[in-house]
């Protein structure tokens, strides 16, 4: 997708006009689409307004997080919204710190956000307040770490431990007869 820079600038201005600082947000023109930064207490209100307002951004395309270590607050949760009727994109960012990594859940607005938030929880450890079923999705249920945090090593910490525990429980002979 290629949105010309003049369009991005124009859309940013329109957004600034419609939102008008009601949610404590700041609107900027990113490299590819307008980006709105909002404090986490107001994120639900903002997203509700964007979804139901004019034009309605009904499509939640992406919900992910970025570990901005060593910046503080450390985690940035990013939402990408699209309006199918108006063909308009925008991103919403919100921040949360390392030791109170809680962000309100948007599953009430988009049922499709359920798994996206579970993935953020699994990979980063960010809890989503109001999520109906917040558990791990990509890693096994009993996996103790959050892999996409910057301090987690790529090779992992004892990656085979859960398997070894399970194999020991089954008391299987060692591989290789």
């Amino acid at each position: 997708m290629r949105i010309p820079p003049e369009d991005i600038a124009a859309q940013t201005e329109t957004l600034r006009g419609t939102l008008g600082g009601r949610f404590g947000e700041t609107v900027a023109a990113g490299a590819d689409m307008p980006v709105v930064e909002v404090p986490r207490e107001r994120v639900i209100e903002l997203l509700l307004d964007l979804r139901d307002g004019a034009p309605g951004h009904r499509h939640l395309s992406m919900l992910t997080a970025v570990d901005r270590m060593p910046a503080d607050p450390r985690f940035e949760v990013v939402y990408a919204l699209y309006s199918i009727e108006a063909n308009r994109w925008l991103r919403v960012n919100t921040r949360c710190g390392e030791f109170d990594a809680v962000v309100p859940s948007v599953t009430g607005l988009w049922p499709g956000a359920n798994w996206l938030e579970r993935e953020c929880f699994d990979m980063f450890g960010i809890r989503f307040d109001g999520h109906p079923d917040l558990r791990r999705i990509l890693m096994p249920e009993d996996f103790p770490h959050h892999p996409l945090r910057k301090e987690f090593p790529r090779e992992g910490i004892e990656p085979d431990r859960l398997y070894r525990d399970w194999a020991a429980q089954r008391a299987q002979p060692e591989p290789g007869r």
């Binding site: 997708m1 590819d32 395309s61 970025v66 570990d67 988009w110 049922p111 499709g112 359920n114 999705i137």
Partner: protein, 413 residues
């Protein structure tokens, strides 16, 4: 697979109207489907609570193919991540590479020459055909139409021949580079594409003859997994899954890339919203992709130009020169190991065979990415499985899974 199913897992369903005194309704049963199963199209585990044949609840368990790609990207760097993109949507050659390359080019500000764009379009559309052939073939064999599997793989082998001639590899080609494609197409490859696109519509007619008005196919697909347009948008579905519900959203039309606005093609939609509608949309897309590939091929015959941009900061040198010339070798080394993109964030999507596929790239100006997130349409499709299958029969589960056409590599990344 954390232990066996226990009673506490489905305690909520023990109190049901009629149980346990009703002789026709016993206790609900927890059926574990997968992760090793022929019809789950990859390593997907479904924990299904059934009452007889009726599905009460489904809990999909993904992550059995989670290969930590997003973590790998942070240590590998931009150029070395390309092979990982291929293996995400491994059913579709070339397109996953393309999504990543477009994102990098946007961050770097590199313009891709027209010839490279046409090559990308031609192979992307052949890739889309290949992916939809897998859908037709595997959903066919799952629902009993075994012949479809062999017919579709026959066509897929022909696409593999074309890719083999261009890249040397049948699948997971990794031939799209930042700035273009790794090698130009020869007239012989264009002849192969010509022959393929000339004969392919008759093959699609063959498939339609076997399936479209086949009473068994219709009975197994019509009315199954019906989803309305509002529900589909609320769940985040895109691609053929969304277009079958009537919403004509296609990234190639909405935000064209690689010159798609200059090609003549339709975006098929259906108003059925069920598995049969999705089947019709994908069959129609087979024809449209064939048209686009043919147009790109004809354009390439008459076009002169480079297959790779000239930008020594970001674009790899020609591989055949790397082994002979010291400058090219140093250039290759620097670009592969220490290429830094300008700081910024980009969310780049393409219309993949499964839906909106793309990457969210965050760069801070260093050679290692801060974040590479893959937006996966399959992840979103599998999320819709509970909604689509609850209340239906167990045998419809296979039709639901097939009609959503997901790939686990992309879902789990």
């Amino acid at each position: 697979m954390s232990g066996t199913a226990t009673r506490s897992d489905f305690r909520q369903f023990e109190f049901m109207p009629g149980a346990p005194h009703d002789p026709l309704h016993g206790e609900p049963m927890l059926l574990n489907m997968g992760p090793q199963h022929p019809a789950t199209h990859g390593v997907l585990r479904l924990r299904i609570v059934i009452d007889g044949e009726v599905i009460l609840a489904v809990d999909p368990d993904v992550g059995y193919l989670h290969r930590g790609k997003e973590k790998m990207a942070e240590s590998l760097g931009w150029q070395k991540f390309f092979p990982h993109t291929d293996r995400m949507d491994y059913l579709t050659p070339v397109m996953p590479n393309l999504a990543f390359a477009l994102g990098l080019e946007k961050l770097a500000g590199v313009e891709v020459p027209e010839r490279a764009q046409a090559i990308r379009v031609m192979f992307s559309e052949l890739g889309r055909i290949a992916s939809h052939l897998i859908y037709t073939g595997t959903t066919g064999i799952d629902l009993g139409a075994v012949t479809m599997f062999f017919y579709c793989f026959r066509e897929r082998e022909r696409i593999y021949d074309i890719l083999d001639a261009w890249t040397g590899h049948r699948m997971n080609n990794t031939y799209v580079r930042l700035g273009g494609v790794a090698a130009d197409v020869t007239p012989r490859i264009l002849d192969m594409v010509d022959e393929f696109t000339r004969e392919f519509p008759s093959k699609v007619d063959e498939y339609e003859q076997l399936l479209t008005r086949n009473v068994i196919w219709v009975e197994r697909n019509r009315g199954v997994a019906r989803i309305s347009a509002e529900q589909a948008v609320a769940m985040g579905l895109t691609g053929p899954n969304l277009r079958a519900s009537g919403v004509a959203y296609d990234v190639r039309r909405a935000q064209p890339y690689c010159g798609y606005e200059t090609y003549d093609f339709e975006v098929p939609t259906s108003t059925d919203g069920d598995a049969y509608g999705r089947y019709l949309v994908r069959i129609a897309e087979l024809r449209e992709s064939c048209k686009i590939a043919r147009q790109a091929m004809e354009r390439l015959r008459g076009m002169r130009g480079d297959h790779l941009a000239h930008d020594t900061r970001y674009v790899l040198p020609r591989k055949d020169r790397v082994n002979d010339s010291m400058e090219e070798l140093i250039h290759q080394f620097k670009v592969v190991t220490a290429m830094a993109l300008p700081a910024g964030e980009v969310y780049q999507l393409i219309e993949s065979s499964k839906g909106e596929f793309g990457f969210f790239l965050v760069s801070d100006g260093t050679p290692n990415p801060v974040r590479v997130h893959a937006r996966s349409p399959s992840f979103v499709s599998i999320q819709a499985i509970p909604m689509l299958s609850e209340g239906r029969l167990l045998s419809d589960m296979v039709a639901v899974i097939g009609s959503l056409d997901f790939v686990m590599g992309e879902c789990d990344r």
